[in-house]
């Protein structure tokens, strides 16, 4: 059966290996070098400068500002989005009426293009054509904030959009876990007189470890990225109040042709994602419960 197996192995693997090596492995390995160079645009070539880029980063206010915005997202988004998603998943899996309608509706923003979402919400927040500010005026608030135009509110406006977009996705992930919990456990709890609250905290949540862990990793990746939504809604402004590492490095690379410095910021970005992912896996490592 496997007599001339290499006659199939090589041609079947070749296209994948060639494309992947050229467009994925090669750029990533080159990035490991570019991060330690000064490279000012396509016409020049990279010059090795050791740790200069990273030293410069330490004293760069824009870098610390962008990083601290990522940290705010990293702190707020998991709590708000996952908390809300978990709450809704639990509600819907209780077989409330119209549960299917809710599941389908809540998930929809997940399939929309991030650019379309960004534009739609810049309209919603818009001080004159937007519905949000005129709603607030209608209920008596005279000077509603200029949501995306004010450094104090812009970041939180983006947080709200991100929750709007991703809560349904995480809800569906939690629901998948909830459906696999055997009914008998709930029946036993009901016999013991457990209410909704204690059923959730004693039974449902502890059995959702796997789903919680993957959700944490996803939301970490989302909070570190934030590029599409930020770039369409505020471009990092006003006054850099919504700048994140991804928008900052894009600006350095493609507006100012600082290829080396941009890549060294990307390197820091990458290291943070990896460290946090490993940390999540470490902290949440538990014996998985077998049913």
């Amino acid at each position: 059966m496997r007599r001339n197996k290499y006659g199939i192995i090589l041609p079947f693997l070749a296209p994948a290996i060639i494309l992947y090596s050229l467009f994925v492995i090669y750029p990533y390995s080159q990035a490991m070098y570019v991060a330690f160079t000064k490279w000012k645009g396509l016409r020049k070539s990279p010059r090795f400068v050791g740790l200069d880029n990273f030293e410069k980063m330490l004293g760069d206010d824009k870098f610390w500002n962008a990083l601290s915005n990522n940290l705010i997202y990293l702190f707020v988004l998991p709590i708000v989005t996952l908390g809300f998603a978990l709450f809704m998943a639990f509600m819907i899996s209780q077989k409330v009426r119209f549960n299917n309608f809710y599941r389908v509706t809540y998930f929809f923003p997940q399939v929309m293009s991030v650019v379309a979402i960004g534009i739609l919400w810049s309209f919603v927040y818009h001080p004159t054509i937007g519905i949000f500010s005129s709603l607030l005026k209608a209920v008596g608030i005279k000077n509603p904030p200029v949501w995306l135009g004010d450094p104090d509110t812009a970041l939180w406006s983006i947080v709200a959009v991100t929750v709007w977009q991703s809560a349904g996705f995480f809800m569906v992930i939690f629901m998948a876990g909830m459906l696999s919990i055997p009914k008998s456990l709930y029946e036993a709890a009901a016999l013991d007189g457990a209410g909704r609250g204690s059923t959730f905290f004693r039974i449902t949540f502890p059995l959702l470890w796997e789903n919680t862990r993957s959700s944490l990793v996803f939301i970490t990746v989302i909070a570190m990225d934030m590029f599409g939504i930020t770039f369409t809604m505020t471009q990092g402004g006003p006054d850099r109040s919504t700048d994140v590492l991804a928008t900052l490095l894009y600006e350095h690379a493609f507006l100012h042709s600082r290829f080396g410095y941009a890549t060294s910021i990307a390197m820091v970005y990458f290291i943070i994602v990896i460290v946090l992912t490993l940390l999540i896996f470490r902290v949440t490592r538990r014996e998985t419960v077998e049913f």
Binding site: K5, Y6, Y28, V115, I119, V172, S214, A266
Partner: protein, 278 residues
């Protein structure tokens, strides 16, 4: 199960209905606003249109080039998607079914691609595509899309091929089928549920992709849909044709909505099983 008080049942429904309204209403608002005049948009944001301004759609389609952007996106996404599926399926089949030197190494090499954020590769990728003379070309973007879709698709399909029974394959070989016939006539049809999941997953990823075209396509006439939309938004600051932009958003969102409602079960399964396996 247990008793839920009337009060908590009512409050549950209130929260759920409230969130549904928050999710749906912005889209309904966008759709009816796309039929208003610019004056109506500015002076009565909540009101429905007085007269339906279908011309907004005509302007969005032709003057704002939404039609062209849509065509560009289809020209890139359709071949990229089909090639991703076939190339990944071939590699996954071999990785799942054959023993050979370096098999594990190759599998982990593809797997490792999922660890890295695309931003790390952005500058070297830009420079590479430039050296290959593929900046501002559709084929360049297609190749990049395929390459970045391979890791997850191969990972997923390798797992899928491993779950398929070997008997049918073996009996096909007994009947004298060559390995290529076995793959294309026997294995691919059996793998179609996995291919459909990955098809949906990658289609959405490619359709909504923003960073890669932003970096690799700078020629306005070759913009992808997401780029074109963002470009229209930036242009509004001096062109002031807001109603056409609402129409453009509607043109883009309504088909997505129809496709989503039709295939919502498969789409949700595709995305979440995809996500949970990863």
């Amino acid at each position: 199960m247990y008793k839920v008080s009337r009060w908590s049942a009512v409050s549950t429904q209130t929260v759920l209905v409230g969130w549904a309204v928050i999710v749906i209403f912005p889209m309904i608002w966008m759709i009816y606003s796309s039929l208003k005049t610019d004056q109506e948009l500015f002076f009565s944001p909540w009101a429905p249109p007085m007269e339906l301004q279908w011309d907004n759609f005509a302007r969005a389609w032709t003057k704002a080039h939404v039609g062209d952007y849509l065509l560009n996106t289809l020209i890139v996404v359709i071949p990229a998607l089909l090639l991703t599926l076939i190339i990944s399926a071939m590699a996954a089949y071999v990785l799942a079914r054959f023993e050979f030197v370096g098999r594990r190494f190759l599998f982990y090499m593809f797997l490792s691609g999922m660890l890295f954020p695309v931003f790390l590769a952005l500058v070297p990728l830009f420079s590479l595509v430039n050296q290959l003379k593929m900046l501002n070309t559709f084929h360049g973007l297609i190749l990049v899309y395929i390459a970045y879709s391979l890791p997850f698709t191969i990972f997923f399909l390798t797992g899928f091929f491993k779950t398929l029974p070997t008997e049918i394959e073996e009996s096909a070989i007994m009947d004298g089928a060559n390995p290529y016939q076995v793959f294309f006539k026997v294995m691919l049809p059996m793998a179609s549920p996995g291919l459909i999941s990955m098809g949906i997953f990658n289609f959405l990823g490619m359709w909504n992709q923003y960073v890669l075209p932003l970096v690799l396509i700078s020629d306005e006439s070759k913009y992808m849909l997401s780029q074109g939309l963002a470009f229209m938004l930036f242009k509004q600051f001096y062109e002031n044709d807001w109603s056409a932009l609402f129409a453009a958003l509607t043109i883009i969102m309504v088909p997505t909505l129809i496709v989503y409602i039709t295939f919502q079960k498969q789409i949700q399964d595709g995305i979440t099983t995809g996500a949970l396996k990863g």
